[in-house]
């Protein structure tokens, strides 16, 4: 089950680390960095159901056409 309550230790520190990693990257390199990061985290999670829910949540939240989300957080 995808956990959606706040869990990241030191959120500002994490956010800054990602921004720092992006510094100096052009558009294409930045995209690859984001993808690498997502892949590393996805592998850490591993569980197919959780990953599916994460993809669905990401798709439902952005400007992508809204997809119904089975377990959307309130």
């Amino acid at each position: 089950m995808l956990r959606t309550e706040p869990r990241i230790e030191d959120p500002d520190g994490f956010y800054q680390a990602v921004m720092d990693a992006h510094r100096g990257l052009d558009e294409a390199a930045a995209r690859r960095f984001d993808a690498r990061l997502a892949l590393i985290l996805a592998n850490h999670i591993g569980d197919a159901a959780v990953l599916r829910q994460a993809v669905a949540l990401a798709a439902a939240t952005g400007e992508a056409p809204a997809a119904p989300l089975p377990s959307a957080p309130a």
Binding site: A28, R36, L39
Partner: protein
């Protein structure tokens, strides 16, 4: 010595109207395989092909273990092994570096390797030769199916030859007429799926090169930046090279030999001299018709489904279609219920779906559709060099695996607990045997008829087969007249203990399995396997 394409003799019509029980339209890979399989079971057929030779140009080269096992049963296995290039290893390169290598069949103890590479024309020429030698295949070269009238009791074909036309009444019409299938088009059956917006230059190149017999796949190599390249060895010093070109490429210009030579030279470097054997530009499709059986007209091979070649699933899938249909049709012609043929759809449609799914995913990886997809693809490749966890995501082709007929109506579900092994629907798996002290292989003994594979061991006899069912005994200990599973690999792979028995279909897929079965239980499963339940 390279391959000399045969020119088969053709004959003008013998009568204005003829009739035949089984007509196979299309003498390509699948039609010839089907004709030979039927002939091996004593069933005669008329095979019509509009051409008078085998497939030319760059087509199938990779034959999977399951196909080799099928051809082994048809009597061609040794020729594939002898002439073909056996390979087990693939390498993936990204940019200037090797990302990783993989082994396809790390396991020993199979008669056939994971893959053999061989030009499709050899396979077709050997099949045609065996069909002719069988005396049961009426090979009619340069006989083109021009029109078909479908009827409840068969089909009426108008066949055109250079020596005039004739009508042919077929009780059963097996449409093996390829991706452009005029029979499919004539019936107006939609061929649904995806076309990929990409083009590939496929070159067969003759050269003496130091590359090993491995599948090499490059993403974004320095000699062909931004695109992918595949290199694969074939017999006769011929190498298959696929260059991804992108959708904008002009197919005419790309076929220009000078341009192709420049691409190949950039790849091989100045020291390797080569000759171009064949060059074509393809775009690829993954699609199928909804149902393969339409009454007494049945579709097989590319006429029924088409995939991109990255998983080598087109020809290998079509050969499995023929393997699946041939025994059922033979049984129906000998009195089994025609309902048995419905299982062809129930089994081969999901198999085609699986091939399409895998080929589509590979093509999506090789041809990313947007900049973001491209970034993900490259991210996977970047990670794969240093991190094993990313390698399963690299998709340069998921190579053909035999279908497990999971939802087959012919299977009897397990009634007891099994801790692994081969479930109903799975294809038989080979294992080394000793018979009277001589090395042998399990699959060689399964044949082309229903068979009960019965396991025995010290103090535990093999299960009895019901009347009329052939039995093959595999024993854990050495006995006179039985196969000895001296390595224990058969017991391990089949998950079987002494006293267990497996009912196998004529295509060597599992129909049912039992612990200490009664002949009545086996007989019930056999009836179901023949479409009677």
């Amino acid at each position: 010595m390279g391959f000399q394409p045969p020119r088969y003799p053709w004959h003008p019509p013998v009568a204005a109207r003829e009739a035949a029980q089984v007509v196979i339209a299309g003498g390509g890979l699948v039609g010839l395989t089907l004709a030979l399989d039927l002939a091996r079971q004593g069933i005669a057929s008329v095979l019509l092909d509009e051409d008078d030779t085998v497939s030319t140009g760059s087509r199938a080269i990779c034959w999977a273990k399951r196909t080799l096992e099928i051809y082994g049963r048809l009597g061609l296995g040794a020729r594939f092994l002898e002439k073909g290039v056996t390979w087990n290893r693939g390498r993936v390169f990204h940019g200037e570096r090797e990302a990783y290598a993989f082994d396809l069949l790390p396991e020993q103890g199979h008669e056939y390797p994971a893959f053999v590479n061989l030009q499709q024309y050899y396979a077709e020429a050997w099949l045609a030769e065996e069909c002719a030698a069988s005396g049961l295949v009426d090979l009619r070269w340069r006989h083109r199916v021009a029109a078909v009238e479908h009827r409840p009791d068969g089909a009426l074909l108008r066949v055109e030859t250079p020596g005039g036309e004739y009508q042919l009444e077929a009780e059963w019409l097996l449409a093996c007429d390829g991706a452009r299938s005029p029979i499919r088009e004539g019936m107006g059956l939609p061929f649904l799926g995806q076309v990929f917006r990409d083009r590939f230059l496929i070159a067969d190149v003759r050269m003496h090169a130091p590359f090993p017999a491995e599948r090499w796949f490059w993403f974004d190599p320095p000699f062909h930046p931004g695109q992918s390249v595949l290199l694969h060895k074939q017999p006769d010093d011929i190498w298959r090279i696929d260059f991804q070109l992108g959708w904008e490429a002009d197919p005419e210009a790309e076929r220009d030999p000078a341009r192709v030579r420049a691409r190949v030279a950039a790849m091989l470097g100045p020291k390797v001299s080569f000759e171009l054997e064949w060059v074509s530009v393809y775009s690829f499709r993954c699609r199928r018709i909804e149902r393969f059986r339409h009454g007494r007209t049945i579709f097989l091979g590319d006429a029924a489904h088409q995939v991109s070649p990255f998983g080598a699933r087109g020809g290998n899938g079509g050969v499995q279609d023929a393997d699946n249909l041939a025994w059922k049709l033979a049984a129906v012609l000998r009195g089994a219920t025609p309902a048995l043929l419905d299982s062809y759809d129930r089994e081969r449609v999901p198999a085609a779906e699986e091939n399409i799914l895998n080929s589509t995913r590979s093509t999506d990886f090789i041809t990313p559709k947007t900049a973001a997809c491209h970034a993900w693809r490259d991210a996977v490749l970047e990670l794969s060099a240093a991190h094993g966890f990313a390698r399963p995501l690299v998709n340069s082709g998921r190579l053909s695996r035999p279908a497990v007929l999971a939802d087959s109506p012919l299977s009897t579900p397990d009634a007891e607990a099994w801790g692994g092994g081969l479930p109903p629907g799975a294809p038989a798996v080979d294992a080394p045997m000793l018979r009277a002290g001589q090395p042998d292989w399990l699959l060689r003994h399964l044949g082309r008829e229903p068979v009960l594979l019965a396991f025995a061991g010290p103090g535990v006899p093999a299960a009895e087969a019901p009347a009329g069912l052939r039995r093959v005994v595999v024993a854990a200990d050495e006995r006179v007249g039985t196969l000895w599973d001296h390595s224990g690999l058969a017991a391990a792979r089949w998950g079987a203990r002494p006293g267990d028995a497996v009912l196998l279909r004529p295509d060597q897929h599992v129909a049912a399995r039992f612990h200490a079965p009664s002949p009545a239980a086996i007989a019930a499963a056999r009836a179901r396997m023949m479409g009677e339940a």
